[in-house]
Assembly symmetry: C2
Amino acid sequence: MALKSFIEVGPDSHFPIQNLPFGIFKPEPTSPPRPGVAIGDYVLDLSTISVSGLFEGPFLSGSDCFLQPNLNKFLALGRPAWKEARATLQNLLSADEAKLRDNPNLREKSLVPMSKVEMLLPIAIGDYTDFFSSMHHARNCGIMFRGPENAINPNWFQLPIAYHGRCSSIVVSGTDIIRPRGQGHPSGNSPPYFGPSRKLDFELEMAAVVGPGNELGKPVDVNEAGDHIFGLVLMNDWSARDIQAWEYVPLGPFLGKSFGTTISPWIVTLDALEPFACDAPKQDPQPLPYLAEKISKNYDISLEVQIKPAGQEDSCVVTRSNFNHLYWTVTQQLAHHTINGCNLRPGDLLGTGTISGPEPESYGCLLELTWNGQKSLSLNGTTRKFLEDGDEVVFSGCSKGDGYKVGFGTCSGKILPSP
Amino acid sequence: MALKSFIEVGPDSHFPIQNLPFGIFKPEPTSPPRPGVAIGDYVLDLSTISVSGLFEGPFLSGSDCFLQPNLNKFLALGRPAWKEARATLQNLLSADEAKLRDNPNLREKSLVPMSKVEMLLPIAIGDYTDFFSSMHHARNCGIMFRGPENAINPNWFQLPIAYHGRCSSIVVSGTDIIRPRGQGHPSGNSPPYFGPSRKLDFELEMAAVVGPGNELGKPVDVNEAGDHIFGLVLMNDWSARDIQAWEYVPLGPFLGKSFGTTISPWIVTLDALEPFACDAPKQDPQPLPYLAEKISKNYDISLEVQIKPAGQEDSCVVTRSNFNHLYWTVTQQLAHHTINGCNLRPGDLLGTGTISGPEPESYGCLLELTWNGQKSLSLNGTTRKFLEDGDEVVFSGCSKGDGYKVGFGTCSGKILPSP
């Protein structure tokens, strides 16, 4: 019989007992931030559970990792501690276990309605890296900017291309995004213009959250890379296409990206996603030995983007994609990242890059969906080429099990006008 | 009469009372890290001075900013506090002031011979950005990789090009650098090779250390940008040219850089550098209004790179350059960085990019000095195209005043073989 919680969880909830994603929240506006897990419409306060002595296993009993304002200390403990936490919490929340279920005082203290909490960034992010791992996205961008002959650079098939991103402007879902100003360039020899971005876009991504890091100079083997990844979040890599197009040669994206990046508040663990693991696409050419995995895994996670146009009540689905479209796996990304000796630290974020599927309805950004503004997207009777002030973009993602879902909730942001 | 300290400081010292650069050090291997300033051959322990109640001004009396393991809290206080600290310390160390001079007990506790201390990274770096602001460097790289016709991209003259760098692998001077492994690509349609980098290089840079930051969405005016910069350090942006060349299209440098970046331990303040301010080069075309400065300043800082080849006793000067070769000023860099709303935080690092001068003897990296390995550099009877295992690279930099120097000390690192 399927695992069930004593807390009622509807079949469409993203947060059944099979999931138990980790986040950081404040139960009241003035209370200090603390770790929690989502269960149905509630957040279980892990600081309370910890202080109550209910983490009794060898890794977590006596640890103060749940008395922190972020999850970094817990992440640093590694998979054995994560598995212990998951087992403890699944037991504590299960319908058959009385410890919490029959303790009204503890329930009252530890279970906070999700509608009342404020979610914060779950991690302190020391470094954020963004990959470029969807072949469909790489090909579409290549066709648009270099033509169909040389759409994908030869290096793309040999290594997971990536760039360093900006940490300071990573915000949690629900934070407004101010339209960036910057330089764009019309064409030919005209001088650049300056002003609010005319081509503001979202990018549908997910990101891996790094657990234990590695020492400088000590690469992580690709077959052990999974133990360095705690879980995944949804990520919107907001992009100003006009700023990006003018600035990115030769050193890559900079101000076209660094004005804001939104992540979902809940980190869904790889352990919760394991039932949804699937084969990664066959790679041709064969990757070099340091990238060759014994088991090459993706996850079947359905992704959806809705836009709620400025001034309207209803949202419109603009794309549906899936995490399993990624060509390079997150473990290959992590191994590649460290092969030069680069050190990762707990809480580092590894973005996947825009996750586009093969069909036009599954493209992961407006650049692809409107083919760089050459066509319009219909939304509830209005149209969009790029985002307008007041538009709200909402990502959601979940894996569908037998009678339950393991979901990420949403990752949203609304565009405010330039100052 | 020139300001003098009661501590004897030779005319060639980088650290007279006119300088007073800030760093973080441990007096004993087991003692906690703390802030200090360099004076002659000594480090003045600011935690001791602070606990002794000698910071009596309005910004610093009662502050715990010098009881921290990094300078970030002090940096966040801004220029008025920095000026107060400088005035207090110049007074305390001056030949005419008895407070410290005539207090043997306090001298004993607070003045530690520099030869005995361990220097650490002076700041916790939340984000590191590397610019590309020397025209000579940009032109040389352009000629090598794209030919003389299109050596410099048109965007280069309109904005200070930059990319996000990796924070985790920034190390303090003296830390060994392990030769990175990675993919390179010989040419044409050959498959990539994998192994230790065959083209390991240094890059002669300096970096600005950010003081007070700005809120997300609130750009810093270029004419106020100076108040957001605490000071400068020397920086070696170690680069693996073969890895970089193969990976950098289209998203910029990644593993070719992220294996290590070395900074000097002492941050020389803009206040100490003010006597060496000079006009920045005339910019043509005129920059857009958001980059147009009322006063456009560089600093006259002589820079030198020495290589001590593996197995040899003596170092060889391989290049001499100057900070004043930069086309884009550090204040323009900072204003540009925030124009899209990107937020800076205290302790952020803004690298200048390789500082090459116009003459071949002033090129700032081996890529330029050996023209991508086409010619060899003579060093004490041996030769180099790129760095070999065991080579030590030592940067130094200083400004020359009337009878004194304001210097940065050195920024060094030795290459260890790949694992």
